[in-house]
Symmetry: C2
Subunit: 351 residues, 2 copies
């Protein structure tokens, strides 16, 4: 029997509901493969603030240090709207990313065939095989640059080193070489110096992957192309800020943001969380779609514990439950079986 330690950080509002089902499913699958998954709970975001006065408390940091992977729910919400900006729940997220050194945020955007009608885009545009992987740089750029005030001015510095660009580009090219072998790098090299460095460096890295086709798009054009022709993309490689914007845009194009997982990886342990937020409006009502979190669990098994088969079993079970027509409200069209969070988890367990 193998043992893996996982830091379980549910976070705020729906955080508890979405992670608890995912944990059950992972434990069950783990057992089948003789893997003992040991979850240790920690507070983050608003919960960290309430419990320990900080959105990423020392105690949680220590739990993370002793873990093989981090499994996170969602953070933030109106309860902490008025706290000082350096203590906001979101700071917890930024700090844990930085602390773990997870420089690559992987966001697969897929349309499940049974959910095709949920996309806001016309069928002629969305087609039936949208499958994009967004690779977003996560611990550099303007998010972590120097910032401050000077008189009546405020500033933020966007900065990248060649090394930072290189390592994220490598992740993108590696991923592409196992997919459709195309990388679209997104920048604003016609205006920004950091984007020029980005482009130069990505081009250098591309030379190591002659089988992968590289193209470049300006970020404004990329925001357009995602809407008018999302199927043109295989892997999108971009910086922290542009990735934040484009990955959210791409996720709603799929029509079911409640289905989308993410993995943040670096040199050490990885961080796995759904893309969606903490949904204060439906928290505690057994309404939220747990699938994004469950699929994030599958990504964790795959990336952190090399449990490819177990990951596939979870993904396949989610697919089957969708095909059988069980739906939470966010993906319900009026004709399928409307169920709650818990029942979705049970149905996936059954599969």
């Amino acid at each position: 029997t193998k043992t893996y330690k996982i830091a379980l950080l549910p976070g705020d509002y729906i955080g508890e509901e979405i992670t608890s089902g995912a944990v059950k499913i992972m434990e069950r699958v783990g057992k089948a493969y003789n893997v003992d998954l040991q979850f240790t709970r920690g507070a983050i975001g608003g919960a960290g603030l309430d419990e320990a006065g900080h959105p990423f408390p020392e105690a949680t940091k220590n739990i993370c240090k002793e873990s093989d992977a981090i499994f996170l729910g969602a953070v933030g919400g109106p309860k902490w709207d008025n706290v000082a900006s350096n203590l906001r729940p979101e700071r917890g997220l930024l700090e844990i990313r930085k602390e773990l050194g997870v420089f690559a945020n992987l966001r697969p955007v897929k349309i499940h065939s049974s959910l095709r009608d949920k996309s806001p885009l016309k069928e002629s545009i969305i087609g039936d095989n949208l499958d994009i992987l967004i690779v977003r740089e996560l611990i550099g750029g303007i998010y972590f640059g120097e910032k401050g005030r000077e008189g009546d001015k405020a500033y933020d510095v966007m900065s990248y080193s060649a090394e930072e660009v290189e390592r994220i580009a490598e992740i993108a090219f590696e991923a592409a070489s196992k997919r459709d072998k195309r990388v679209t790098s997104v920048d604003k090299a016609n205006v920004l110096e950091s984007s020029k460095l980005w482009r130069e460096t990505v081009e250098k890295v591309a030379k190591k992957y002659p089988e992968v086709e590289l193209s470049h798009l300006y970020v404004d054009n990329a925001a357009m192309q995602l809407v008018i022709n999302p199927r043109q993309f295989d892997v999108i490689l971009t910086s922290n800020m542009f990735g934040d914007i484009l990955s959210d845009e791409a996720s709603v194009i799929s029509g079911s943001i409640g289905m989308l997982p993410s993995a943040s990886i670096g040199k050490g342990v990885g961080l796995f969380e759904p893309i969606h937020g903490s949904a204060p409006d439906i928290a505690g009502q057994d309404k939220v779609n747990p699938m994004a979190t469950i699929l994030s669990g599958a990504m964790m098994l795959r990336h952190s514990f090399n449990m490819e088969e177990a990951a596939k079993i979870i993904e396949k079970s989610v697919e089957l439950v969708l095909e059988k027509g069980y739906r939470t409200g966010d993906i319900y069209s009026g004709t399928e079986k409307l169920v709650g969070t818990k029942e979705v988890v049970e149905k996936i367990m059954e599969e």
Copy 2:
């Protein structure tokens, strides 16, 4: 008879085709109102480079200085892909904006009722009354901040002063007070210091407009909302960089980027140009849709010369030509009358 001087800067590729028709239409309408519109041609972008070795030549600058308004086509294209970055055609655009001090870029995004089916969004989402005005700050932020290299690093500084935010916010609130009285300010105040200043300042300005409702969105959320519920917006107020991304995203949502005009205004003369680019692929083939440029002309008559009625006549004529079913390829669905650039101009003249 009144006389106005206009700098006519066709720019590159389709620039000549789109501006020449618009000029004819404006001259005709001007005559009807006893206004003499005097156009003086100048080179900008790639044309400036070819003619005078600079994307915004001194000669053009001088023409602008003696003009009451600037009318621009489009710049850029593959011909100048390999010039030094400080001489790229786009630099001409950035420099003319800065030189003129046009800090407010106004981009109305509308769906013409006869073009509703062109939107990539489902009809249930796009509805029939999309009417957004994007107000983008145009001469500050990361576009014009300090930038450079330091060892293997590259950086760009995003900076705003309270005064810069104030003046653009005022434009947005003024516009909203004449429209549906709602401003959505877009920033990333949960991460950026300059966004925090942006938000504080916008809130101050809002106090002067109690009849206008202000809300805030993070830029990632705004990129999502534009796709899932674009009809929620009246006026969107945002910074240079975010405005670049969001206004392009919004423009394709309308389904007909070839229809969208823009006005850039400041303390002095204004700059009027279509939103779309220089379309090298269809240049010189009498194929391009001249309507965005013609509607930019209408905006010029309205904003710079206070010729409201003349502007309305042009806008109405464009509407009528659409209703009669004359379409260039970009807005042709297969059943209307497919016509070329010149014929569209003639049809509008007839109306």
